[in-house]
């Protein structure tokens, strides 16, 4: 019989810590939560403050009239913004028609064609393109490209003059500052964004799918067509929408090259304006209702770009989930 020392019941250990440190934990949590909430606060404040400030302009024209009116005449207090909406849509859609295929091509080149070393250089080129400030693109475009390209525009207009339809879209030009030049600049600025998302999308294509296509005797192009592109379609749609949203909001480069006319024209070689660009161009000389109207254009632009970006994120996320599902 050995007397076993009955171990004393362990004293209740207080894992809660000091009250002071508990308070610190609570305080830190509150601090970081508040920091996270600033995103929502800023977005909400943008909508509320700018809408309030813009309301005289909206009231002046009526919401519908402001968006659909075709006459912009600040001196007569007439503010129809449809020509600018038209310019924004035309330039950014044409920019996407150029940028999306080129970006997909670059992304394919990087992921499927390039060797490891050249891949690094190409990625650097695209990254550098993304770091060039938009005003520098605008400067080069307006002082170098515009004077050089105007004769080319006229040559092309003369070339398609006999073709009905085309001759309305590509008509005579007397200035290189027009919708088409703006579209070109926007396309170049959108390429890095679309390329980087397209690369991410292509990276999610399962290696097994590609190998299976090769095993069936597919050439590289047939593999791209059969395995990569169908798999990536949703993601590429999202990438294009993100690029579109970015192009619609681009201000300075467009303001420099679009010409500043507030009329509409089907002729892409004619000067026009976009919603973002007209704010920058007319801001300095605006006051009163004119300035309110410019802010109102900003509200309209904010609404459009938020919706497009939100939809794009949903599309990209849904495509991602679908792809991850295919893996498991």
């Amino acid at each position: 019989m050995t007397a076993t020392a009955t171990p004393e019941a362990p004293a209740e250990v207080d894992l809660g810590g000091e009250a002071r440190s508990r308070r610190a934990d609570w305080g830190f949590r509150a601090l970081v939560t508040a920091a996270g909430l600033t995103v929502l606060a800023v977005l909400g404040l943008i909508l509320i403050t700018t809408s309030l400030r813009a309301s005289p302009a909206f009231q002046d024209e009526g919401l519908i009239g402001f968006v659909t009116g075709t006459r912009w005449a600040p001196n007569d207090d007439v503010f129809g913004t449809f020509p600018m909406l038209y310019g924004t849509l035309v330039t950014s859609v044409i920019a996407m028609l150029i940028a999306v295929p080129v970006s997909i091509g670059i992304a394919l080149f990087i992921t499927e064609v390039a060797h490891r070393r050249s891949r690094k250089y190409i990625v650097t080129v695209i990254d550098l393109l993304a770091t060039v400030p938009s005003v520098v693109f605008g400067l080069v475009a307006v002082l170098v490209v515009v004077p050089a390209i105007t004769p080319a525009y006229q040559w092309f207009a003369d070339l398609v003059a006999p073709v009905p339809g085309l001759n309305a879209i590509f008509d005579d030009t007397n200035t290189g500052r027009n919708y088409f030049t703006a579209s070109l600049v926007l396309a170049i600025m959108a390429i890095p964004i679309i390329t980087s998302i397209a690369r991410e999308v292509f990276a999610t294509v399962p290696e097994t799918d590609k190998q299976a296509a090769y095993a069936l005797g597919a050439t590289r192009w047939e593999m791209v067509k059969g395995a990569i592109l169908p798999h990536s379609f949703g993601g590429l749609v999202g990438a294009s929408m993100l690029g579109l949203g970015r192009a619609m909001g681009e201000t300075i480069a467009v303001a420099l090259v679009i010409g500043g006319a507030t009329s509409m024209s089907a002729n892409l070689f004619a000067p026009g304006n976009t919603m973002a660009a007209i704010i920058a161009q007319q801001w300095g000389e605006s006051s009163g209702l004119h300035q309110d109207a410019l802010i109102a254009i900003g509200v309209e632009l904010f609404a459009i770009t938020v919706i497009i970006n939100f939809l794009a994120r949903v599309v990209v996320r849904r495509a991602e989930i679908k792809m991850k599902g295919a893996h498991s």
């Binding site: 995103v39 403050t49 080149f109 047939e222």
Partner: protein
């Protein structure tokens, strides 16, 4: 590129002419796309370096800006100071809030509905046009205090940087291994201590790199500056008093003038701005390449 090396038909000799042609022309087209992207970059670099280089001098970097477009000669000093001060102040506002917000998303919110909502909204916020941020600060700050000041530009740039900083910092926090947090908790550290002294330091270089990239992006912004900051020709080190200016705003102002003197100053300002932006980008790259955790 294992897929290329293990392609079963390495010779391609059995391909029909049509398939071989389709494959080859697709490869050429894809390569052409890279050239299309490289062309504008080369054009911009060549033009800015040759034209800007001839405008650049010590005087250009330090002297005040001539008031008349036609005046020959140098001077962008106030714009350089304005760019650095306004962007620096924006970084002081946006980086702390952004990093703390990222701490909330990754350490506290994780998959809660609120955190998911903030994440989506931060993504949406990156797509808000910079001119809209400028208008917002004009209405919410400039009108309220009654004058255009440099600090207004800082606020607008901070709004632009915030979502970028949050999302990139969250990416970096996610790479911090869970074992570090558990080890710290096991030693009795509270969550805020763990976060401040273990999680954030191990992600610090990644966070710095992402933040610098956001700073570089903001330094080249023009639209919010011309809306909120106004214009000056002289040195204005005080961001809270009087109108200010930046290199980007000066490029925009001078680019459309038909006078050779102002165009030359625009080119010089463009070269200076690109050098500043590239410096930030390169430093960010160097810091990122030394980041240990993501190599695990």
């Amino acid at each position: 590129m294992t897929s290329l090396n293990t392609a079963p038909d390495l010779t391609g000799r059995n391909l029909s002419k049509r398939r071989a042609f389709a494959n080859r022309s697709a490869t050429v087209l894809i390569g052409l796309c890279v050239l299309i992207a490289a062309l504008p970059l080369v054009l911009v670099a060549w033009q800015v370096i040759t034209r800007g280089g001839s405008a650049l001098s010590l005087g250009f970097l330090t002297e005040e800006i001539p008031r008349n477009y036609r005046t020959e000669g140098p001077g962008m000093g106030p714009a350089i100071l304005g760019t650095l001060a306004i962007t620096g102040m924006a970084a002081l506002i946006a980086i702390p809030i952004g990093v703390l917000g990222a701490v909330y998303l990754n350490e506290y919110g994780q998959n809660k509905p609120l955190a998911r909502f903030i994440r989506t909204m931060a993504d949406v916020m990156t797509g808000v046009p910079s001119i809209v941020m400028g208008l917002f600060i004009y209405v919410a700050y400039v009108i309220v205090i009654g004058e255009k000041v440099g600090f207004g530009g800082s606020l607008a740039l901070a709004c632009l940087m915030l979502p970028i900083v949050i999302r990139s910092a969250e990416e970096m926090l996610r790479l911090v291994p869970e074992e570090l947090r558990q080890a710290s908790a096991g030693l009795g550290a509270r969550k805020w201590r763990t976060t401040m002294s273990v999680v954030l330091p191990s992600a610090s270089s990644g966070i710095t790199s992402g933040a610098l990239l956001a700073v570089a992006r903001a330094a080249g912004e023009t639209a919010p500056i011309i809306v909120t900051v106004g214009l000056t020709y002289i040195y204005k080190p005080d961001l809270f008093y009087g109108e200010n200016t930046t290199l980007a705003a000066q490029i925009y102002r001078n680019a459309t003038q038909p006078f050779a003197a102002s165009q030359e100053r625009a080119w010089g300002a463009a070269l200076t701005l690109i050098v500043i932006v590239f410096l930030f980008t390169i430093v960010s790259r160097i810091i990122a390449s030394r980041f240990a955790i993501d190599k695990r």
